[in-house]
């Protein structure tokens, strides 16, 4: 099977993995008993291809609506070429969301005007049906979010896709369905440099801010132990 069609086939199976199965990488091998994988010609590995892979798997270009009612595409408008922090909330959540949102407000205060210039903070609602633009605008205002920290709602299907893509899911499907147990982490990343990690939304605001600093202003200087020579 030529490489191109095999690749096409793989992408087909990725979309509908139950419809068929590939037994061998090469039809020609059938009957000969040979199982040596066909030596394929791999595409060149570049920084650009690595970045594109992350984009395709994790940073989908889904349409989102901000608390100001503006429309954005997740990758093109919000993440591409930026340092970002990403987290989930919903407005009538009374357990974890208030703690995380209030903590993020402290983080924004520490980072000051870097937010909106060097890093963008994004919060996405888990309940887009209930959390309309008006609701999230009000919610945002309640926590004193400053410019550079944007709240989003979306079509519920799109929001679920986004949630899965950026890893805010549980392995246990029962817990995953329960919004009150939702993931309270803050995902952060520097998209062009491909530095991605996460920290708990309830960690000390000073440490979250410091972590985001490393993400938005990466440099070869020293870690926190050296800066203040703390022991």
């Amino acid at each position: 099977m030529p490489d191109v069609s095999r690749r096409k086939f793989f992408s087909f199976t990725a979309a509908a993995p139950l419809t068929a199965a590939v037994l061998s990488q090469s039809a020609a091998a059938a009957g000969t008993g040979s199982t040596a994988p066909v030596q394929k010609v791999w595409p060149p590995a570049t920084q650009a291809s690595a970045r594109k892979r992350i984009q395709e798997l994790h940073l989908p270009n889904l349409p989102l609506i901000s608390h100001e009612g503006k429309r954005y595409l997740f990758y093109d408008d919000l993440v591409k070429d930026k340092a970002v922090s990403l987290n989930f909330f919903f407005a009538n959540c009374d357990e974890i969301c208030p703690l995380v949102t209030a903590n993020l407000a402290r983080v924004q205060k520490i980072l000051g005007d870097q937010v909106g210039r060097d890093i963008y903070m994004y919060s996405f609602t888990l309940k887009p049906k209930e959390d309309t633009v008006d609701v999230i605008r009000e919610y945002r205002a309640k926590y004193g979010a400053q410019p550079g920290w944007t709240f989003f709602t979306a079509d519920p299907k799109d929001m679920e896709k986004l949630r899965a893509a950026i890893g805010f899911t549980y392995p246990d499907p029962v817990i995953d369905k329960d919004a009150t147990q939702h993931i309270g982490n803050i995902r952060f990343g520097n998209e062009p440099l491909m530095y991605w990690s996460a920290c708990p939304g309830m960690a000390h605001a000073t440490w979250v801010a410091e972590t985001l600093e490393y993400c938005m202003h990466p440099n070869d200087n020293l870690g926190p132990a050296f800066a203040g020579a703390k022991r």
Binding site: T35, F226, R231
Partner: protein, 683 residues
Amino acid sequence: MYYNVFGEKVSRRRFKEMCEAAKNRRELIAAGLTSRRDLFKMGLLTAGGMLVAKSGLSARAQTATPQITPTGNQTQTNNPPSSGSNTSAGTNQNCVPGNQTASPKVTPFVTQLPVMPVAAHSGLATFSPGPTNQPNPSSGSDGREARAFAHQGPTNYPGLFPAANLLGNNYYKFHQVPFTTSQMSPNLPPQTIWGFDDGTHGPHSPGPTYKATYGVPQITRNINSLPPTTQVNNTGFGMPQVTTHLHNGHTPSESDGNPCDFYGNGFFCDQYYPNVLAGFSTQQFRNTGDINEALSTLWYHDHRVDFTSQNTYKGLVGFYCLFNNFDTGDEGTGFHLPSFPQFDIPLAFADKIFDPHSGQLVFDLFNLDGILGDQFLVNGVIQPFFVVSPRRYRFRLLDTGPSRFYQFFLTGNIGSNINPTTNPFFLIGTDGNLIPNPIQVTSVRIGPAERVDVIIDFTNFAGQTLYLENRLNQINGQGPVAVDSLVNPNQDSNNNECVGISNSSQPTILPAGTGNLILQFQVTGPRVRDNSVDPATNPRFYSLPTTTDAPRVVRTFKFDRLNGQWSVNGQFMDCNHPRFTVQQNTSERWLLTNLTGDWTHPVHIHLEEHQILNRNRLAPAVPTDQGRKDVTQLHPNERVELFFRFRDWLHKYPIHCHNVVHEDHAMMAIWNIEATGDMIQVP
């Protein structure tokens, strides 16, 4: 909500189909229908090489492939299920949600196991700037020093430890470097990873193996020669900032490789490894330390906070073997253990994922739970073979993670017409230490960061082929025990078939020959003299230190998950807030608790080893729990009590989960050891 392995939501019906497919495949394999010809005859295979779709034989097209592919010899009826690579028949990932893709297929057992070179010294004259007790403020061709504090050894105990510039020949320079390698598999394109270059052997991953000796202090200058942090140059994952931890070392904190002590390109850190027995500053073992605290198998790895999983996955790991007058590395002397490095072989295990389209090593950046790979590497090669002589060997098995637990068996008769066999071997060490006597076992389980030393006697296997087989059926990154509702969604008992787990509190061990055949031993080497001790004669190694000292304080550490956030006592990693202070040269007991019903945490504590007093108040039952440890597996619904003596060195160290994905998501706490400690019981 149900997901397939691509992270896509699937209907409940689809989910059950996926489980059915797995079940069907297991049945086929159980029936011995593992060759293409068998399947073809059964009408389960189309002429084009496809499994017929209606049979529901694959939920994960690419990984299903190797499970039902013959090895190339049509006369074989009992082919190794994991030949042709990847997940084995039993390691069923079909029910696993997540964003993992399946790796391309590779041919196993075509590359010889690489044995890492023994680290070469570098002359003191090459050090620029020179090593100093205080951090050296000048720069030189090695860059600038990142270390912030004086070496405690020569500063606090000048009679015991020579100054940093007076260590004779015992200097090493390790550069952390990017390099491109084709060694992982001939079926994959070259991979650009990170490794260690000792200046003599070129870049390696795993890095060169240290051959260190008790009583011979040494300095390693770890130089960050990775790309600048500001460059787009990590091929998709990894943070080019390092702090190299000597795992299990009784190391002063400034040389320990603390997660917070990271530095970028242009900096180096002089790490002074005193190679001293714990207890040297106590009354009882003044100046000498306690011989029963002797260490053997240590390892080093990057520990950069928030990025340890990516950086170790990318290659920044290596072995550090520590010898003394008993464990000499020479089978003619001391304990007569097989000679290093010829018959004493470090084995670093790692499971990884390769992108099916590009063939490139990839990392699941957006995973919080733990990452499983579907390709198994030993010393940097996917499923290597190793030609051994019919004699005894010492193997040092290390699970470098990120998240997989292994249960290793020595399997024979794979590919023959007889059933696979399970062969005994001897456990001689757990984590860094030799245990008091060898214990004969048929398997040994290790989790991330754990080590075991084993003796395998190939004398009676001349001409045969054996496999190191992982039979632990781990289905996702949470640990060896599955989430209840994954096994049994909505209490639907049919879905128990999905992973074949009858009792979800116990890991599933697969039948012989159906696990992951990770390393192939070809016992075709020449007959050579064997002067090593026969472990069956029950030789005595070290004794276990007592655990009866009254603890100064009992501390409790609850490992938990709060809305997906990994916590220790409800708090999270913070470099700037140490949680508590241990008093130097005192004993403590630590209670590790895990109230989650389904997550396993391999908990690692720096500086000192511990002994497990009990699990849920019962004395440790398995051999790997009975020796000294630096990592303890904390299983679901468990409370484990540990005994510690905290001695000699001062200042900051971490306690953390060594499922490095959990660790990077803040399941870590910094603590101090000082002349005066506190009594905080729940730090």
